[in-house]
């Protein structure tokens, strides 16, 4: 095998690795924020059904908790961008 085709194959392997890595990073990283936000939403709905007069304050607190639970997903997104564009 000559030099040029070796280089071509190496580049192809690099691109494939980047794509697979970014896909796995985002896919696995999106699992836990999904579960966490689902839990938060479910419990907020429960408490609103129990005490509808507190709906406003429960909703604001729910949004804050959602944003905090989302953080790990955002980290995964950043790592995926880094793998795709900066590596």
């Amino acid at each position: 095998m000559d030099q040029e085709s070796t280089k071509l194959i190496a580049d192809a392997i690099i691109i494939a690795g980047k794509a697979i890595g970014a896909g796995f990073c985002m896919g696995i990283g999106a699992i836990s924020p999904g579960i966490g936000e689902g839990n938060i939403g479910a419990h907020a709905m429960d408490s609103i059904a129990r005490q509808p007069e507190l709906a406003n304050s429960i909703t604001t607190r729910m949004l804050i908790a959602d944003a905090v639970a989302e953080t790990t997903g955002i980290y995964a997104l950043l790592i995926a961008f880094l793998i795709l564009f900066a590596l």
Binding site: T60, I64, E70, T71, I74, L77, L78, F85, A86
Partner: protein, 293 residues
């Protein structure tokens, strides 16, 4: 049959809306003409915007951050002046909006920091951050505007050369909060202020003692926990805004940048941006109250 109440649109507003629509469609047509060849042309340089490189200082800063920060400041100062000009006991619509916003934030601050000395300063810090982030997130994407393209090439001697090029009408406006430097500055500022207030409220000895609670064995964990606060505080905002921007950029390529960006920014800019700004200022209050209380 009661007469239906109709909201009148004045002639001035109609002319303004028509001019805006014409300008918008023209910009869309210009975009189609001067479109980059593929989305990877733009997306390939996304990471270069926020990675610190080598070279003189003017190549290491992001010019869009400075331009857009000044634009945000202009918008906020203009709003403040226009409220102040017609300030009266019977509030106008603008004044009522500003007052209810301040009231909303002050209620949150007062419920978590009962001490009046710290509540006022915390209120000012939290409101300033909230206003700045809200305006920058909203300004970040509603209008197709200028963008900056940073390309990175490796020179002959192995040094990295960065070229900065301005692109007109190809992208949405760059939100200053999509630059990690902006967010990290504010997060570090909040960390320093919270510890300063902690020393002021509890005294120096009690503040030092709070690091070895509940047992001295946990000292490294407490220090790491404090240092992790600004990182997660800033990364949350940065990731949300940058991720939204990149998603909008990738998706709006399919309609040649014409109509989709404002619709998508309705979610990423307005909804997500408002929530993130609210979360940022609420977490500021929470970190300060954890030190003070």
């Amino acid at each position: 049959m009661p007469e239906k109440k109709r909201r009148r649109i004045s002639k001035k507003t109609k002319i303004q809306l028509t001019v805006f629509l014409i300008v918008y469609v023209t910009i869309g047509i210009i975009n189609v003409q001067y479109l980059p060849k593929s989305p990877s042309d733009i997306l390939g340089n996304v990471a270069n915007r926020w990675i610190v490189g080598t070279g003189p200082w003017y190549l290491r800063i992001n010019p869009m951050t400075i331009i857009m920060s000044l634009a945000v400041l202009t918008v906020i100062i203009w709003f403040a002046i226009s409220v102040h000009k017609e300030y009266s006991l019977i509030p106008t619509r603008k004044q009522a909006f500003a007052e209810s916003l301040m009231d909303f934030v002050y209620d949150i601050v007062q419920s978590s920091i009962p001490d009046e000395r710290f509540a006022r300063s915390t209120f000012m810090i939290a409101t300033t951050l909230f206003l700045y982030i809200v305006v920058s997130n909203l300004l970040g994407g509603v209008i197709p505007g200028i963008s900056v393209d940073v390309t990175k090439t490796i020179g002959e001697n192995g040094e990295i050369i960065r070229n900065v090029k301005f692109i007109l009408f190809s992208d949405t406006w760059f939100a200053p909060t999509a630059d990690l430097n902006t967010n990290l500055t504010y997060a570090l500022m909040v960390l320093v202020i919270s510890h300063y207030f902690g020393i002021k409220a509890k005294g120096f000895k009690a503040w030092l003692k709070s690091f070895i609670e509940p047992v001295p064995f946990l000292l490294p964990l407490n220090i790491i926990g404090e240092l992790a606060k600004p990182i997660s505080h800033s990364m949350r905002l940065f990731g949300n805004i940058t991720g939204g921007g990149v998603l909008v950029l990738a998706l709006s390529y399919f309609v040649k940048y014409m109509f989709l960006p404002p619709v998508l920014w309705g979610y990423f800019g307005i909804f997500s941006g408002l929530i993130q700004a609210f979360v940022f200022s609420t977490l500021t209050v929470a970190y300060i109250s954890a030190q003070v209380g």
